[in-house]
Subunit: 214 residues, 2 copies
């Protein structure tokens, strides 16, 4: 059996849920409550020294870490429907859009970082939200520009079917909405997100649909 | 001609230099001085709305962004010598190690983030360094554990030849050394880094060897 260790509101786990759903793969879920700190529990760290979600385990003993690495694995093992286009330049564009979210926005805004700001740097709620919105604004402004002016864009980030870029975008938009980030300057991002949200694979992956949602 | 827009001390540009050298590809360099803010200049933003380095341009008009996406492109276009093993699970392991650096450590510690801490949050030098070392310690502790106990490790992060994981590790170690991070608890990371530094492709990619080094 394939088991996803995740958390309903984790953007990174959300990405993997979308990818698994697009590929039509069945999986169990093993919730790891990040707010309660279960990712730092000895039993979890023994399996995953990164102390992060997601982790995907497969019954052949394979244990996979890091959301984008997991998505690439799924793409290689289960090529259809594809999460990456065929042409190397197009694949590079999709990966760059995905990494703009996964390497430039999300790492600055996840729970452990916001916790460090509050607990260690003792910033107030306003300063924390300003930090959050600053990095989303930086990233989304660049993303909106790329999506608007590059020929590769379509109904989705690349062309007219979802790719790894959309797999990363939708959880980041969900996250931004939760922090009341104003998306009015990002019409293309909003349109693509709406197109994704019309697809069942994205709908079933949404945080509110998960067994640990509260 | 292939041109790398980078900065001698940028970890992300450093990764691409290593990958290009391992693949034996010739390239020009177009330095973008991050300290002077040249990445935010209109002429650069017009080409790269992310306002980041590296960017790799190829004379067929292809323009590539995001260091890991660039490395994957190079791997697909120029498979030899490989930066990723053949087996999907092994590839996933290498990508996870690479992303542990590229998604969990580096994004929190690059120049623009340290600048935000100092200029916007007005933290003092000590607090900035504590932030820096905190995220490196988190990431390197996990990485050291994985490298020490997983069967895939060898003289390099995976097996006995450099992969994408080493391409990411060596610039992060350089960066950590620059910020006087204590690596004594990371013997495996130090050994692998030493093995990489014995290889010409890594040597030629080092920050001090670049035209814009100062």
């Amino acid at each position: 059996m394939t088991t996803l260790y995740g958390y309903f509101r984790s953007s990174a786990a959300y990405r993997v849920r979308i990818a698994l759903n697009i590929k039509g793969l069945a999986y169990d879920q093993a919730p790891v409550n990040l707010v309660k700190g279960e990712q730092r529990a000895e039993v979890y760290l023994a399996r995953n020294p990164q102390g992060l979600v997601p982790m995907l385990t497969i019954d052949d003993g394979t244990q996979l870490l890091q959301s984008l690495a997991i998505c690439e694995y799924l793409e290689e093992r289960y090529p259809e429907p594809p999460l990456l286009p065929a042409d190397p330049s197009d694949r590079a564009r999709v990966r760059a859009l995905a990494q703009l979210v996964a390497c430039e926005i999300h790492p600055l805004n996840n729970l452990r970082v916001l916790k460090y700001l509050v607990n260690e740097l003792q910033v107030d709620e306003d300063t924390k939200l300003t930090w959050y919105r600053h990095w989303v604004a930086e990233g989304f402004t660049a993303l909106e520009t790329m999506l608007s002016r590059e020929a590769g864009s379509g109904d989705f980030c690349h062309g007219d079917a979802p790719t790894l870029a959309d797999v990363c975008l939708v959880p980041q938009v969900f996250n931004a909405e939760r922090f009341e980030f104003d998306l009015s300057a990002c019409p293309r991002i909003r349109r693509i997100t709406a197109n994704c949200r019309a697809i069942e694979a994205f709908q079933r992956a949404a945080p509110g649909e998960q067994p640990d949602a509260n």
